[in-house]
Symmetry: C2
């Protein structure tokens, strides 16, 4: 079948053709004026996207490289830090912190639930002070969105100067981030999620206050040394050879995002979330996460003994041409995850749901045909007609 499999995993996400073409521009030298001009064109919208008047820096590497950059520049061995975790990517922050010798306190939420900002405030008061607090904005492994604004305010009010470091890899660009207003000190994202690019570029926002800590931090770092990125960035360069094709593509995605407008982009992601959730309920499947904690970029759906998630996922991909992700770690085999971020819109949600219904029919549930689509259509129609 010539029909491509529609990639609806929570990253990498589909790349718009215009962006792919922009990435194909002829290479330029990264020490020349053309590169600096490109760099300077990128910065204003990057700051708008992060909601900061501080710095946004580009590290060539995956989202994990961005997370390690944050840790390596903040944490000295023995530093006491607070890790907020509710899933696999929160735990990854914990693994990186352990590798850098941090003394880690953990505040956990069960997988599928979000971090309670009040519990953060209580923990900070009871067990602080901490050098920094680490949090996952959007827990990709469970489809949980943490309330970054409320957590930011809790750390600001009760953190006794602790920095707040945010993994927003699977949210930024699809869900609102306001670094300055929400008191976020370091925010990391990756190119391959809501920014609609292939993987390979981490974007890192750094607050004024963070630089003071970075200046003092003792962990060894060279490639991940943010001070080098800052010094080069002030000359519109990067310290090491950057992924120029991804920066070409980033310019195009920024243009697309500016044309749509950030408010519309966030509303589109909320709409996709609401359509998928309405459809999943109409299909008689169970959502992993309550509405109050639901991510706008990824939705996790529980398998059942009747229709286990892995065979369903296989049928959906192989026979009906939509690829969704499985579960990770303790949720492996228990859930499937639908990515709806970046280059995706409500029409695509109808496609996903219609194909999912076909897969469910193959697995003995022919009665669901059309039901989920109808529920998703009704959500979209409410948005269109309001």
């Amino acid at each position: 079948m010539i029909e491509d499999v529609q990639l609806r995993i929570p990253g990498p996400s589909p790349v718009p053709p215009q962006v792919a073409l922009a990435m194909g521009q002829p290479m330029i030298g990264h020490r020349g004026s053309e590169f600096s001009a490109l760099y300077e064109r990128l910065i204003p919208f990057a700051k708008e996207l992060f909601g900061t008047s501080g710095d946004v820096l580009f590290v060539t590497g995956s989202g994990t490289a961005g997370m390690e950059t944050a840790v390596a520049n903040i944490v000295s061995p023995g530093d006491k830090v607070l890790l907020l975790t509710c899933g696999s990517f929160g735990n990854r922050f914990g693994q990186i912190l352990a590798a850098y010798g941090a003394d880690v306190d953990r505040l956990e939420a069960p997988w599928g639930e979000c971090i309670d900002p009040n519990a953060v405030a209580t923990k900070l008061q009871a067990a602080g002070p901490y050098k920094a607090v680490f949090v996952t904005h959007n827990e990709t492994s469970t489809g949980v969105a943490n309330d970054l604004k409320a957590i930011g305010h809790a750390v600001h009010e009760f953190g006794q100067g602790a920095l707040l470091v945010v993994d927003s890899v699977s949210a930024l660009g699809g869900m609102e981030v306001r670094m300055d207003d929400w008191h976020l000190d370091i925010v990391v994202t990756g190119s391959q999620k809501a920014l609609m690019l292939p993987p390979g570029l981490a974007l890192i926002g750094v607050s004024e206050r963070a630089w003071e800590v970075i200046d003092q931090a003792q962990s060894p770092r060279f490639y991940f040394n943010l001070k080098k990125y800052k010094a080069s960035g002030d000359k519109a360069q990067t310290p090491y050879t950057p992924n120029i094709a991804l920066l070409f593509g980033l310019e195009k995605t920024f243009a697309l995002m500016q044309a749509e407008g950030l408010t519309n982009i966030y509303r589109r992601h909320d709409l996709m979330r609401d359509m998928v959730r309405a459809a999943i309920r109409a299909l008689g499947l169970e959502l992993l996460t309550a509405d109050s904690c639901a991510s706008s970029t990824v939705t996790a759906v529980k398998g059942s003994s009747e229709v286990p998630s892995e065979p369903l996922r296989k049928t959906l991909k192989e026979q009906f041409k939509v690829q969704v992700a499985g579960g990770q770690d303790q949720l492996k085999g228990e859930i499937f995850r639908i990515g709806h971020m970046g280059f995706a819109g409500p029409r695509d949600m109808l496609t996903i749901i219609a194909s999912l219904e076909c897969a469910l029919a193959v697995h003995g549930k022919p009665e669901v045909l059309g039901r989920g689509v109808k529920a998703a259509q009704e959500v979209w129609l409410r948005e269109v007609q309001r």
Copy 2:
């Protein structure tokens, strides 16, 4: 909204990203060995696609340029020809024939119906001999497929040597064509339909028997002179500068088509037809064409006083991101036409139908939500499960 409008008009059709990238290869000179090597790589599958051991030639121009090439090389002023027409593109053949001074007899079918091969046999016997018979394989304006095999046999048996010239612009590559077996003498197609390329290239199959007539034809022609294309083609070149990017792309589409296999491609197109038709019926809309004449690449749907087709089409495109075509000539404002050719598959049909349902809901038919999708899903499931 960043979501692209899905282009489901009956051509141009969507271009696969791999093909778009292949078209971006660096230019080559059209008189060099690289070009001849490309040309030679294209010919074997081109012949398979046309079902001929004769010639397949490339004329840089639209499908109409290909149709004119056929006329200009066959028809001398005053030649008596038979035109079989059942729509706008059949009539276009008639306009070209008139421009070349042919004496045109017409055998017409009402728009929405197909040509009766028995009527062709009768006409040939009653009013022949003709220099040539002109027929539209797939009438894009109405979504009608003519029975090319039966017409080919009628002309072969009762045509007293008349050539059969076929416009297969919107069929070839999506519906079977067997030039040699079906006694077709000239077959024309374009790049922008089932061949999944942008417009700009006509492919023309020419039988041994046709060359004898071409040698004698008196109409003036230079750019469209097929003998020049044949002479250059024998040296793996074209007489005039070809659209090299489209030939790069053609090599890629041929590779994709070979990988899928022609039998599977034709079955996929039949499946798309059947899904769309089942859905349209389930939505309570009226098809223009009977099943027996239904095209596998384009389906025409009647508007009604309740839901006129033009406002529906506008809503579908602007609010629900699927673009279908309107009617042409006498059907303008009366029908809309869904293209399902080339880079399209059954999952895409679910998308079209789900979006169409949303548009119908906006136009006062909320009760249809999910219904057409279900009908299309059932057709797909039968195919998957057989």
